[in-house]
């Protein structure tokens, strides 16, 4: 075979889970015979009869159903057709699923798959990155895999976790990101990873932006800069130890994300690092996010809306020259 893409890994993780755990089932729009809008469930309905279901267009009820099934001991995986449509399921996610363990002592092991992030031409309603929204709510785990192996292992681990997990999978990586194979095993959820070692500055990021950051770092290498890239892997929990250790080495921090610029993951990173690692910083920590407008449709606007290797290089040069 010619390798495994990020979306293959998501499909295979679901196949593994369906095979190994009878409590797992899949519920989502067009995921059964059609295999899903992105084909993340292709062939699974045939391979696992009565385990993969097409949902009515009822995002709120999809999560309500999943929570009810979890109460009865099941481990549903819910596919949102696009992360953006989870805004309809917002109440069930943040108020029903997320509060259940604290209120009743019974955890709710559901996994909500959110096809996230921008791709050219997708526009304001098929491009959103909602990890920073969900992470604000107590009771949710929010994961953001950046690699093919993480896409696989973190989905398997998400379903194994007893708590509700928002699994943010990046649409841009679906077919673009390819690996020879899936690594034997992954890091646990809650542990970050050094995606690229360096010593002059640290970029803390996650999901598709890991690759943009590595690209930017490669470019700056030519100027003699060694940039370290930390892949958070999960944004809640957020592995502060790994981040602080990196900042301790480099003294400089750029928090990078593709979501809207107000609050969210990058603000949390900067706040955490300055609270607990202020003395490690040789320069003001910086953030780089998307712009504060809806994600535009036109590829030219889109490319200028989100961080790119160019804008990341610019931000890093500013940081390095401080």
């Amino acid at each position: 075979m010619s390798g495994v893409t990020y979306i293959d890994a998501i499909r295979e993780a679901q196949e593994t889970l369906l095979r190994e755990d009878p409590r797992v089932f899949l519920y989502g729009q067009d995921i059964s015979n059609f295999g899903g809008a992105f084909k993340a469930t292709k062939g699974l309905a045939e391979a696992f009869p009565n385990r993969v279901f097409d949902s009515p267009i009822s995002e709120d009820a999809m999560i309500g159903l999943a929570v009810g099934a979890a109460i009865e001991g099941m481990r549903p995986i819910i596919e949102m057709q696009f992360a953006d449509f989870s805004s309809i399921a917002f109440n069930q996610i943040v108020n029903q699923a997320a509060t259940h363990f604290y209120r009743t002592g019974m955890p709710i092991p559901i996994t909500v798959r959110l096809p996230s992030g921008g791709t050219p031409g997708s526009g304001p309603f098929h491009s959103q990155s909602m990890e920073g929204i969900y992470a604000q709510y107590p009771g949710l785990v929010v994961v953001t895999p950046a690699t093919v192996s993480d896409a696989y292992h973190m989905l398997v681990d998400s379903v194994k976790l007893d708590d509700p997990v928002i699994y943010c999978e990046h649409k841009f990586l679906y077919r673009w990101l390819k690996a020879k194979s899936i690594n034997g095993d992954g890091l646990p959820i809650g542990q970050a990873r050094i995606a690229r070692p360096g010593k002059h500055a640290t970029v803390v990021t996650y999901s598709a932006m890991v690759h943009e950051a590595v690209r930017a770092a490669d470019r700056l290498q030519a100027d003699g800069w060694e940039i370290e890239v930390v892949d958070l892997r999960s944004v809640k929990p957020l592995d502060l130890d790994t981040v602080l250790a990196s900042v301790a080495r480099t003294g400089r921090l750029l928090a990078l994300g593709e979501a809207f610029p107000w609050g969210g993951v990058t603000a949390e990173i900067v706040a955490k690092v300055t609270e607990e690692g202020f003395h490690l910083l040789d320069a003001p920590p910086q953030r780089l996010n998307a712009r504060d407008t809806p994600v535009p449709y036109h590829p030219k606007l889109w490319a200028a809306h989100r961080p790119t290797p160019e804008s990341i290089c610019d931000a890093l040069r500013k940081l390095l020259s401080f």
Binding site: D60, A61, G64, G73, D241
Partner: protein, 342 residues
């Protein structure tokens, strides 16, 4: 009394005496308990809201009593003290939750009607109206996948106001698509908080919604225990037998305010003095006595017994400790991640 497919005669199986007695006792328990809650609230012993089911006991208890604990599932809503009791929730769960005892099922973390025991098939409601409808659907859906659905029913109740939520619609439609044995009782008490029916929906009777979902639909006088027992009993049996989702619209009036903080003065006198303004407990009492299902003496003895029971449940909850913030496990996740990973 009945609308849609079935004719009244096929539906109305006279409820049995045992069922009526048990259901009535649950109604009585709920009423006496709630009267006590009301006093406690007025005496400042309860923090937060108190929401009572006065006037809705016949509907609520009938539903709870028609279900089998340990097999069925039931998501009670704000006015379902009677249903909870009939389903098997111990009174002490109520007093502990209202009084904030750490021994209660919610351990002081949630209060009043926001309680449940999901492990016994009775999830704890969230406030957001309509949200329990898909939840019950999910519990039933899981039972099907586990192969344990046969002969089960899942039930929930909502108010007239809750029928305007997207959650109600999505959940009921999904249950219909999945052909789940779900019974939804709509307690149309004519008001949602202060909002009258005519600002909530425009059809003559909410039961007209059933056809649009492709499910069974029934309309019943919610102040009449025997009618409730007949119709709700029938709907539950029909769902249990594989007839898919059923919707019962019960007509009645809330005998009080929305909560104990509210005097309900917006309810017109005409409604209070109309047919649905009558007290279902009185109606039921008459029905039991006249039908020879119970004697007045028996009922008085039950009353006495229940008052004692309620006193004990209150006293016990009151002497139990409040939650201690220093010992509280402040964790919204069951998974323990390393300390610095938050």
């Amino acid at each position: 009394m009945l609308i849609t497919e079935e004719k009244a005669q096929t539906a109305v199986v006279s409820p049995e005496g045992d069922f009526l007695r048990a259901t009535f006792r649950a109604m009585l328990r709920a009423r006496i308990l709630e009267n006590k809650l009301s006093s406690l609230y007025k005496a400042g012993k309860i923090v937060g809201g108190v929401y009572l089911g006065r006037g809705q006991e016949a509907v609520s208890a009938t539903l709870g009593a028609s279900l089998i604990q340990g097999k069925d599932c039931y998501a009670p809503l704000i006015r379902d003290q009677a249903g909870r009791t009939a389903f098997g929730e111990p009174l002490i769960d109520c007093t502990r939750t209202y009084l904030g005892s750490v021994e209660g099922p919610m351990r002081g973390r949630d209060g009043n009607i926001h309680r449940g025991r999901p492990e016994m098939g009775m999830p704890a409601m969230i406030s957001h109206l309509g949200a329990q409808v898909p939840l019950i659907a999910g519990m039933l859906f899981a039972k099907r996948l586990k192969g344990t659905l046969d002969g089960c029913v899942g039930a929930t109740s909502v108010g007239d106001g809750a029928t305007s939520t997207g959650a109600f619609h999505e959940g009921l439609n999904m249950a219909a698509v999945e052909k789940l044995p779900m019974v939804v009782v709509v307690a149309n008490n004519q008001f949602a908080y202060s909002t009258p029916n005519h600002r909530q929906f425009a059809c003559a009777d909410l039961v007209e919604r059933a056809a649009g979902y492709g499910i069974g639909g029934f309309s019943v006088d919610g102040t009449d225990l025997i009618a409730c027992a007949s119709v709700i009993g029938y709907a539950v049996r029909k769902a249990r037998a594989g007839g898919g989702p059923q919707m019962v619209v019960a007509h009645l009036l809330r005998l009080g305010g929305h909560g104990e903080h509210d005097d309900g003065s917006y309810v017109p006198e005409s409604a209070k003095h109309g047919h649905y303004g009558r007290d279902c407990i009185e109606v039921a009492m008459r029905q039991l006595v006249e039908g020879g299902f119970a004697t007045v003496e028996e009922i008085m003895a039950w009353q006495e017994e229940t008052s004692d029971e309620v006193q004990r449940a209150v006293a016990q909850a009151q002497q139990e400790p409040a939650p201690d913030p220093y010992r509280e496990d402040w964790s919204a996740l069951s998974t323990r991640f390393p300390l610095n990973a938050q």
